[in-house]
């Protein structure tokens, strides 16, 4: 098979514990250097935390695997300083077309709202994503990555976990004050700890093929229900970087995965789809089944589960890596506060609560897509086909067609960390909401709201003319920084410059005011993971401090 990508080989280095014959001790150990483990490690290291990242392999993802990276993931990776290259290399797409039997029934545009920095989704092979994350990780001096280091034993304790790690030079022991488990769906560490993960397996198989084509196919997502070239099943076509196309064929349950993977069986399927004359080469083929399940809780004392090790969904909607990266976005600032002694360990309970809530939403949405794409009964199939038949002509039916609801972040409206509104606001930026982006201007050249927030608590305070901020308000805003958990104040304005010691964020197109329903005096407290924690129509330092305490379990 052809190769458009040269797999890097990461060097194995004999661990210092083996060389020196001693037990290692690290504040944080992360197991698994996939997208989720790497993101967690970069986030911690970027905040000055020493981290050891262990992986049993010595290269990136074999095969393209996760190919859709959602807007929210790109925003998290922007915060970690590594989205730009991925967006540049990846394929940005907005148009999706849906076909039923011979006909196109409708198409949609993913980008309904202008003035956001990142697109709804990019398509990029997982190996590129991991490669870029590893490059970013290598820039961080306090992040140590060890390849071909396999965890073979875990012993939890009240204030640490002990790991036994095997290498080609023998085994060694490390003590981790905190252990983050990112070792994937089959999670050996979860198994070693005897922890359960419950859910259901779907009785269906899918063939995925990466095909290299010089075809002038547009950069769109095409989804077929019951097409003439693959009767009674579904097919998905997606473009990735390097003219690699991902084709996903539903196979049904009663097929032999090993037989289906053979090029002599795959090629005729693709030829039937493309027409015989189009040139293509196979790059990678895999057959998968899937499960929807999650652990009861993601925190077990000093052991914290993230990504597929904690929850799995069907692939429709790209909620695997995307939700795992959001787990780390939620976890890392909390863990850092707990490690620094600035928040009690109960803050980690809220990691589990908030991300279980998000996992349930992801499982619900991907299960609904699965049930629409692969109906489980005759009546379900009749309804599905009726919806598709009506979709060409009637907008209401288009809204019901579900070929995958693409990954979007959860609104954490039930979180105990939120301070409930006591005043009236329009729009969606309620406590618990993931922040909407908007074009802005900061003195340092930042052009997007989500580039100006994150990594710390911040208070956005709105006044039309920043220069008109009175001395008392300026003093109150400046005082927020002087606290064990400092709050950086930012003055959001249409014009002018805030008094000395305060940042001015110019609402370049009025979108911040519009999306956040700002009026003079409105103040938003935002979390380090760019979620709204609280908001008020005025500025009251005592209320801000109380909301920070609530958002960090210090209340």
């Amino acid at each position: 098979m052809l190769s458009t990508f040269q797999y890097p080989k990461f060097e194995y280095v004999r661990p210092s514990e083996i060389a020196e014959g001693r037990e290692g001790h690290y504040p944080v150990v992360i197991v698994g250097a996939g997208p989720v483990g790497l993101t967690a490690a970069i986030d911690l290291a970027q905040q000055g935390q020493r981290v050891l990242l262990l992986d049993n392999d010595d290269t990136v993802s074999i095969g393209s695997r996760g190919v859709c990276y959602a807007k929210r993931t790109l925003e998290v990776l922007d915060r970690l300083g590594c989205a730009e290259e991925m967006v540049h290399k990846g394929v940005s797409w907005n148009v999706g077309r849906t076909f039923f039997r011979e006909e196109e029934v409708f198409n949609f545009n993913l980008c309904p709202e202008p003035d956001h920095h990142r697109p709804g989704m990019i398509n990029l092979q997982q190996y590129y994503l991991e490669d870029d994350l590893i490059k970013r990780a290598r820039q961080l001096p306090n992040l140590e990555m060890r390849f071909r280091n396999t965890v073979i034993g875990v012993t939890p304790a009240d204030d640490h976990a002990t790991l036994r790690v095997e290498t080609s030079d023998g085994a060694y022991t490390v003590r981790a004050d905190w252990l983050i488990v990112a070792d994937g769906a089959r999670s050996p560490v979860r198994t070693m700890l005897g922890l359960d993960i419950d859910g259901k397996i779907f009785m269906d198989r899918f063939l995925i093929a990466d095909v290299v084509m010089k075809a002038d196919f547009p950069t769109e997502r095409w989804f077929w229900f019951d097409p003439p070239f693959h009767r009674n099943q579904s097919v998905l076509l997606h473009r990735q970087a390097d003219n690699v196309f991902r084709i996903d064929f539903q196979l049904g349950w009663n097929v032999d995965p090993e037989e289906e993977k053979k090029p002599e069986n795959v090629i005729p399927r693709i030829k039937a789809m493309l027409g015989d004359d189009r040139e293509f080469e196979l790059e990678w083929v895999s057959v998968y089944t899937f499960q929807c399940r999650r652990m009861n809780r993601f925190n077990h004392g000093r052991v914290l589960f993230v990504g597929d090790s904690a929850h799995q969904v069907s692939p429709f909607g790209a909620r695997g890596a995307n939700s795992g990266i959001q787990d780390t976005d939620n976890l890392i600032w909390k863990l850092k506060l707990v490690m620094d002694g600035k928040a009690p360990a109960t803050l980690l309970e809220t990691y589990s609560e908030e991300r279980c809530y998000a996992a349930d939403e992801n499982i619900m949405n991907s299960t609904r897509s699965t049930d629409f794409i692969t109906p489980k009964s005759a009546v379900s199939k009749t309804f599905r086909n009726a919806v598709l038949g009506l979709a060409e002509q009637f907008p209401f039916a288009r809204a019901l067609v579900n070929s995958g609801r693409l990954s979007v972040p959860s609104f954490l409206v039930e979180s105990s960390l939120n301070t409930a509104d006591s005043e009236v606001f329009a729009g969606n930026m309620i406590p618990g909401a993931p922040m909407d982006d908007a074009p802005i201007a900061l003195a340092d050249g930042t052009q997007w709201l989500l580039g100006a927030v994150g990594n710390r608590f911040q208070l956005l305070h709105y006044i039309p003319d920043a220069g008109a901020l009175d001395a008392a308000a300026a003093q109150a805003l400046r005082s927020l920084i002087d606290a064990p958990i400092p709050v950086e104040a930012i003055v959001v304005a249409e014009r002018g410059t805030a008094p000395a010691g305060l940042k001015t964020l110019i609402d370049a197109k009025g979108r911040v005011r519009e999306r956040y329903d700002l009026r003079e005096g409105t103040s938003y407290l935002v979390r380090p993971d760019q979620h709204v924690a609280a908001r008020w129509r005025g500025l009251d330092v005592a209320q801000v401090r109380a909301a920070v305490a609530r958002a960090t379990c210090n209340a």
Binding site: G389, L390, F394, P395, F396, N402, V408
Partner: protein
């Protein structure tokens, strides 16, 4: 009143943050209504459902329009 063919589903008291959510909530409930029924039972459920909804809609001109569209695609 003409038949409304724009997306029109909502649930009182429930706030939706995504445009696809109300339709998906309804569709899941619809399929769930048929869970573990035989084809014959499902046909009966559908008939009863249509009768209940028709009475709720009330306006026979709207129902005639819907019945005509439904029949055209059969």
């Amino acid at each position: 009143m003409a038949l409304n063919t724009q997306p029109n589903l909502f649930e009182p008291g429930k706030r939706h943050f995504r445009a696809f959510s109300p339709g998906d909530d309804f569709y899941e409930a619809l399929i769930e209504t048929h869970r573990e029924l035989t084809d014959e039972q499902s046909a009966m459920v559908n008939a009863r459902l249509i009768l209940l909804l028709a009475n709720h809609i009330g306006d026979i001109s709207v129902l005639r329009e819907a019945m005509q569209i439904a029949r055209e695609g059969a």
